[in-house]
């Protein structure tokens, strides 16, 4: 797998087209790493000149901010901005809607101004520009339902890109009752991913999985590593893991194109 770092580009005196912001989940979480790799395969297939920060990347601070720790968030942000600005980064693509939102909306006033895209937006651009042609039929006839990540959808009003990209799998896309603006959260946001839920009568990811199951899907598509974990756990809780898989859009495209 060819993955070059910004440092390597710089040593060659070159600037990549995009910086791929891998994010903490994408770097360390075993499930999310598969999403990272699937996206890299797509980038390679489309011959995109991309770089990662590698060991110079640090957590965006997004989750700390949402937990209320503004100090930690700003420390992380200022450190990252220093690195990003030193490399004169212009365009960032990430598979994590939380990093996407944070880099796009919360870094500018701290001095970090970049053109930030979610990976589904970037894949859509590649398709539009004719740099990526998709013809896989692996999922033809399958039923796919897409779970909107809060920080891509409601938070940033991007509902179309993931759906447009999904269409290229030739699968049947079925919407859940709650979708787009009214989509239900998977339960991971706001730092919930890292703690036990408060006392209640149900787990949010189970409720959201029930939403998905109503559409009788073969696949639940996600666009966020945290949603992916939550929905995977939800499917397990419903004992449906044998019939239903939970896959990121990048994985669906990579699989479908046999990358």
């Amino acid at each position: 797998m060819t993955v070059k770092t910004m440092a390597e580009f710089m040593a060659e005196g070159k600037q990549p087209e995009i910086l791929f912001w891998v994010g903490s989940a994408g770097s360390y979480d075993d499930r999310a790493k598969k999403i990272t790799k699937a996206f890299v395969k797509i980038l390679n297939k489309a011959n995109v000149d991309f770089a990662v920060l590698g060991t110079e990347e640090s957590n965006t601070g997004d989750v700390a901010k949402r937990a209320g720790n503004e100090f930690l968030f700003q420390m992380q942000a200022l450190m990252n901005i220093e690195v990003l600005n030193a490399y004169e980064v212009k365009k960032i693509v990430t598979c994590d809607p939380h990093s996407y939102n944070c880099l796009k909306n919360e870094y500018p006033s701290l001095g970090g101004n970049y053109n930030v895209l979610h990976h589904t937006q970037f894949i859509q651009q590649l398709i539009k520009e004719g740099r990526l042609t998709l013809q896989g039929n692996l999922y033809k006839g399958k039923r796919i339902t897409f779970h909107d990540p809060c920080y891509l959808g409601r938070a940033n009003n991007e509902f179309d890109a993931p759906r447009q990209v999904l269409k290229n799998t030739n699968a049947e896309i079925i919407e859940m009752k709650r979708h787009k603006q009214t989509a239900l959260c998977c339960g991971a946001g706001g730092a919930q991913m890292f703690k036990e839920p408060e006392k209640g009568d149900k787990d949010i990811n189970v409720l959201r999985t029930e939403d998905a199951l109503e559409t009788k899907p073969n696949i639940i598509a996600t666009g966020c590593p945290y949603c992916n974990t939550m929905m995977t756990d939800g499917v397990k809780a419903k004992e449906k893991e044998a019939e239903i898989s939970v896959l990121d859009i990048a994985e669906l495209i990579a699989n479908s194109e046999e990358l």
Partner: protein, 435 residues
Amino acid sequence: MQYLPNIIFAILLTVAIGYFAKNVKKLIRNIKLGQDVDVSNNKKERFKNMAMIALGQSKMVKRPIAGILHIIVYVGFIIINIEVLEIIIDGLFGTHRAFSGIGPIYGVLIGIFEILAFLVFVAVVIFWIRRNVMKLSRFWKSEMTTWPKNDGNFILYFEMVLMTLFLVMNATDVSFQNMNNGNVISQFIAPLFSGMPESTLHIIERAAWWLHIAGILIFLNYLYFSKHLHIILAFPNTYYGSLKPKGAFNNLESVTKEVKMMMDPNADPFAAPPEGAEAAMPAKFGASDVQDLNWVQLLSAYTCTECGRCTSACPANLTGKKLSPRKIMMDTRDRLEEVGKNIDANNGEFKDDGKQLLGDYITNEELWACTTCNACVEECPVSINPLSIILEMRRYLVMEQSAAPVELNNMMTNIENNGAPWPYNQMDRLNWKDE
């Protein structure tokens, strides 16, 4: 003596408007207890939002049944108020239907008022049924008992009575009925009073007229004590509502200063703070009481009409957690009212009452249940952002009290130490590429 009714009317009107004005002043004072926030930018976009969301009710119709019924009541309310103008003129000058001189168009106007009054009545009855018979769950949450529950119903009764009085007034107005122009609805009510002598009809007509205007003035003054303030505050609230993407949370400038100083290798840690720097420091990070919130958040608390769309979309609430975004707004308003009363009772100065918004109204458990998913913000038909209040209070818990749940403290320590929420080595960040 013939001017007695005019005088009584003028007194009634003055007292009602005076008392309302007094409460509006209090309302503004309370809202100004909030922190300053700069919302002076993008006036054009703000006006557009106000026009679309408040005037145009664009978000109300996201739920079509309640939305359309609400538009009927809203349009009825605004248009029937033209009639109130005539009533005030009649009351002050002793005229009868002062506008009737404008010709046949008067009949058309009254006809429209009558149809609207009837539709409003029907809509309000349906609202009542939705609340009390169908028991829509969002009206039966734990924060909707006692006063909030009664408040909701009182408003509906008020409107039913006012609309009935308006129609009865027209139905018993013999000359108006004889004119037979504009009595679209009231002609069907008039037969109920057939056979009564004209003098009795006149008394009923006068009684309905007086009760109608008195009712309106009472209702006006009821607003301040009620969730119904939204009929006024929805406009400023949608105007001042956030223009940024919902995911963009504000960056605390006070924190930026400190962090930059911390990261500056040339900063002298022992340097005395420059003159006046002490005063410029915020009293605290985040919010533990209403005065720590900004004034737009406080305005929002008064604007909330407790419809509960936010709560009905909240993933935490849907799964039985204690958090209800509506309750966050209601608590903020209740505490703000309490602080306001405290100030009134202490000659304009707030005396510490040993209470605060955090703990006495909103519990940590509620705050930590939030997923920051923005569903509540999306749902609100008048641009209220309960999430921003939750975040401010989390900031207080974490930065002032170090009171985050233990797992979150671990997560944050990991980020501090190795740049990831889990205890992995920063040097292993790129290992995935070779796995």
